[in-house]
Symmetry: D2
Amino acid sequence: MSKPVASRRFSAGIWMFGQLVDRFATDGYGPPVGMPDAVRVAAKVAGIESLDLNYPFWGPGASLAAVRAALDETGLRAQALTPEIYTREFSKGAFTNPDPKVRQKALDLVMAASELGMELGVDYMKLWPGQDGFDYPLQADPRRLWELSVDGVRRVAEAYPTLSFAVEYKPKEPRTHMLFSSAARTLLAIEDVGRDNVGVLIDFGHSMYGAESPAASVELCLSRGKLIDVDLNDNFRSWDDDLTVGSVHIVETLEFLISLTRAGWDRPWKLDQFPFREDPVEAARASITMLSRLLDIAESIDATQLANVQEAQDALAAQALVFDVLFSHWKHGK
Amino acid sequence: MSKPVASRRFSAGIWMFGQLVDRFATDGYGPPVGMPDAVRVAAKVAGIESLDLNYPFWGPGASLAAVRAALDETGLRAQALTPEIYTREFSKGAFTNPDPKVRQKALDLVMAASELGMELGVDYMKLWPGQDGFDYPLQADPRRLWELSVDGVRRVAEAYPTLSFAVEYKPKEPRTHMLFSSAARTLLAIEDVGRDNVGVLIDFGHSMYGAESPAASVELCLSRGKLIDVDLNDNFRSWDDDLTVGSVHIVETLEFLISLTRAGWDRPWKLDQFPFREDPVEAARASITMLSRLLDIAESIDATQLANVQEAQDALAAQALVFDVLFSHWKHGK
Amino acid sequence: MSKPVASRRFSAGIWMFGQLVDRFATDGYGPPVGMPDAVRVAAKVAGIESLDLNYPFWGPGASLAAVRAALDETGLRAQALTPEIYTREFSKGAFTNPDPKVRQKALDLVMAASELGMELGVDYMKLWPGQDGFDYPLQADPRRLWELSVDGVRRVAEAYPTLSFAVEYKPKEPRTHMLFSSAARTLLAIEDVGRDNVGVLIDFGHSMYGAESPAASVELCLSRGKLIDVDLNDNFRSWDDDLTVGSVHIVETLEFLISLTRAGWDRPWKLDQFPFREDPVEAARASITMLSRLLDIAESIDATQLANVQEAQDALAAQALVFDVLFSHWKHGK
Amino acid sequence: MSKPVASRRFSAGIWMFGQLVDRFATDGYGPPVGMPDAVRVAAKVAGIESLDLNYPFWGPGASLAAVRAALDETGLRAQALTPEIYTREFSKGAFTNPDPKVRQKALDLVMAASELGMELGVDYMKLWPGQDGFDYPLQADPRRLWELSVDGVRRVAEAYPTLSFAVEYKPKEPRTHMLFSSAARTLLAIEDVGRDNVGVLIDFGHSMYGAESPAASVELCLSRGKLIDVDLNDNFRSWDDDLTVGSVHIVETLEFLISLTRAGWDRPWKLDQFPFREDPVEAARASITMLSRLLDIAESIDATQLANVQEAQDALAAQALVFDVLFSHWKHGK
């Protein structure tokens, strides 16, 4: 086995540099920030080369020209666009809204974002229909929600065959039950979509609190040729806390990176955090430092040995192999 | 045993009639609503006689005079006041804020609210220090957070000895770990506070997703003379979804009501919901209908028989006793 | 829409009438019971017409002749056979065991059970490879576990093309992570198996603590023509407690039954419980009573009205429609 | 602040070296092992100096004389005794059994174990009333379960005033709801017991899947002078998986050790694992290696600096301080 070399490039969701709000601190966890300024804040983080940008652009001074200017000024590029099909207008659903007029508006918004995405040369369009799903038992017919979701994704994928569309799944929030809730459900839905330019985005934290093994979900999506990107963060396995990478789950983050590195992953590692009470630049730096360390460790693990102990499904040997590298310089290292 | 008769009076948290926001639909799940208008909306719900009001009053037109006018006009009274010690200023903590100046501001806000509470004749002041706790492992010294929390509650309880203060506990959100996280921890902290005018508010949903038995938490607080009030809603046991009462968990809601009814509970039943995508008046009505049904059922259960089967810890007999009442009119009823 | 009429026939997993053990009460929650006697105990439950039988038969006096005699004597039939590919020999895996010799033994056992299943005329063979998965991060290569699982299922399905094989999924226990962990993952694996005689068995409780909507999983499997059977029980959404049907979650159980009834489901309703501390006959009766009630209610709901409010995704109206039936005879009924 | 020096001594629950069983592999995850032999197996683990022994002794050849002989032979000592008040006889409860005769038997068993504990010179008696609690909503009156639990603990504590009794709490399993379910509830119950010789045993894993911060629970128990011992293991936050220490949660395990080390903890670190599919000697060694590494790291962290950043509740600074030590020798170390 040749030594895998992982990417050391990084990107981030622009939202982590904007004003964060929740249902209690409705006045925001800090002052308003417009997207052009958020781009400039992001640029302070060494290693970040590209951004996942919401569309429409938000906040003070957020014109296309201003965002472009900020990108040009900082040298950052738009890696992805995320149409905001989860704001007030779409609060009862985007692709699955019971009102066909609102469904059309959601499509229109994604189409407009896709036009811009082509212009900006994004790697992919991210689809996160956060309001698609249901809240109460009995509320909806699951067959209908599925059908509408598949139809929505198909329409945009058909309209922009040269763009890639990455569906980001999440078990819940803002809905108590989201339609694209797991890697496997999303793969099944993508089959039904029946277009080659649709794949999956795995958010590490979503996978964790969805009780998946994130590494296993990576392998599942890779095996079907459907992994478009990953988002990185951490949480306590019960909610999308969007904490800094590796702050809670070093072992499973490392396992996730090993799976991707082994597959020759060469995308920038994208941060998706909500640093409500932390400085976002410092929060991004903490994640990049952790990722750099874990990638160094991942590359230092003997891939053949790991393959052998995993073939034997020897939990203690596999863990020892990895921990002997991780703690190698300590007295009890090896 | 004499037949217990439960209250058929209702109240509600005013927030359920205002504009709801979350971190995705940052433009709100509906248009802005000022508190005076929210009071008028609440008044449309037959059965609601009183309100838990946030302080400071929020939204368009929210002066004290205007809120008072709305209360007078509708005949609703202020059952409780909830000082908003969880907005931007307090986002790193209220009683536990690392900055003593912010801690003082939190105290000042609670004190000002308490003054108003005395004037309005509230039954109790509700303390929900939602930003007190921590997000990351290693972030804080748990002893210090405890000490500051106890100190904060003690100061306000000492300053207003004729007012009752109800501490509402919650496992998480907006913090990943909140200081007052469970009934038992809160009772221990209240011991340390050492003031008679401090007790507990049990939110049914918080208890559920905190993996408590809400009925057992009622009994625990009652046994120490520390239950001040309860909030009602429902969720899926993993987050504070704030759904309508009994929409998911009929059995445990009924058990909760039985415990309270047995204890002679005579407070109005307070609704604490976040009807993001539902009409709040209809959502409140749904809860009151469910509560009315479940209270009828609770009163129809033979208390002596229930005591007997519970003394025997006979799960099937206890469930049969309750379900035979609940389903009594169906073919397979009894 | 024509009025759906649901089955009123019942079956049960034979294990609920045997001796239950766990890791603490290693001497069992009651005395040893052989399978022939367990069949006779099951026959005391009015309404049970068939059984899901483990193979090999367990306990005192458990020969094929004796089990057949007990079936003949009681008039119960074998609805399904469940090969025990999760006992000591298979504790490191059945289809996924790292040792090819053990994998072969697992196949041999399933084949032998299938022979017997053909002889007994079972409706389907149940495959629950409970030890297939992993316990520790890094322990195994998820691709290899998938490949071995698919291969094992394919081999038995190919060998017995006239039998149906139902894969029962479960998130965890006895492994911390099981290979067939969700409805969607199982459907994907079944695609890879590529045989028409393989489908899914949905255990209501597994679906609940896997954070699925059980009703949505029913619809997903039905939509792909892959639902073979369902198992019924209840739990607290975090573990496979195997409690009596509807003892905790009336609403979602009812929703599950509505989905199946709407689809013309005509299988016997199979109970899968572990009544550790309850009389198993009484525990089964409690479940059948609850099911009878909920099926009566399901049939009393106006299907057209429900379809309409679900088309509108109107949570409160859908819930009101169902609760107005459920509580129809109470004072606040309608 | 003087540099804390943590214990490097280890102990283990004897059960991890015996035959493990669960409800599926009822024939055991390996062959039967008698306690005397289990002691000899434990002795193969370098660093283990003492054991927590179940009483009655189990398995082939398990007389008092034989166990004593094995202890003498190996030089291991009995650190604690755990009376088995959770086997078949007590499956409906020990201290809370509805039958007073069974309650008396539970007391008798604990008393007999206490006599032996005095003779063996144990550090403490462990009380884990695993069957005390309830399974179903409505099954029991929580006040009665509390009263019986407090009474049971009080009786044994009164009878053996020179022995320490450590109550081990656990959220669930084998009951769906256990009486001693959290650190705080246990502290409240211990208050009601009213005897100085009763305290708490914190099992790291129980605390994790009870959604506590284990470090915060350590501080809470220490602050009341009630922490008797800790058990170490790991899990996935939703069940008591009893995996090797640090195999999943390095960060919170380290935080836990920091809290104890800071308090001058000098007990042996006790392992409580269930290595169903692993060699128990290797599983214990893996835990001791991890603990040795994490204790080295804990001692290398500047306690004053940590106190300062924790006083500021600066999550990123606190994490950076700890991670800079943990990863100090890597390229991106500091």
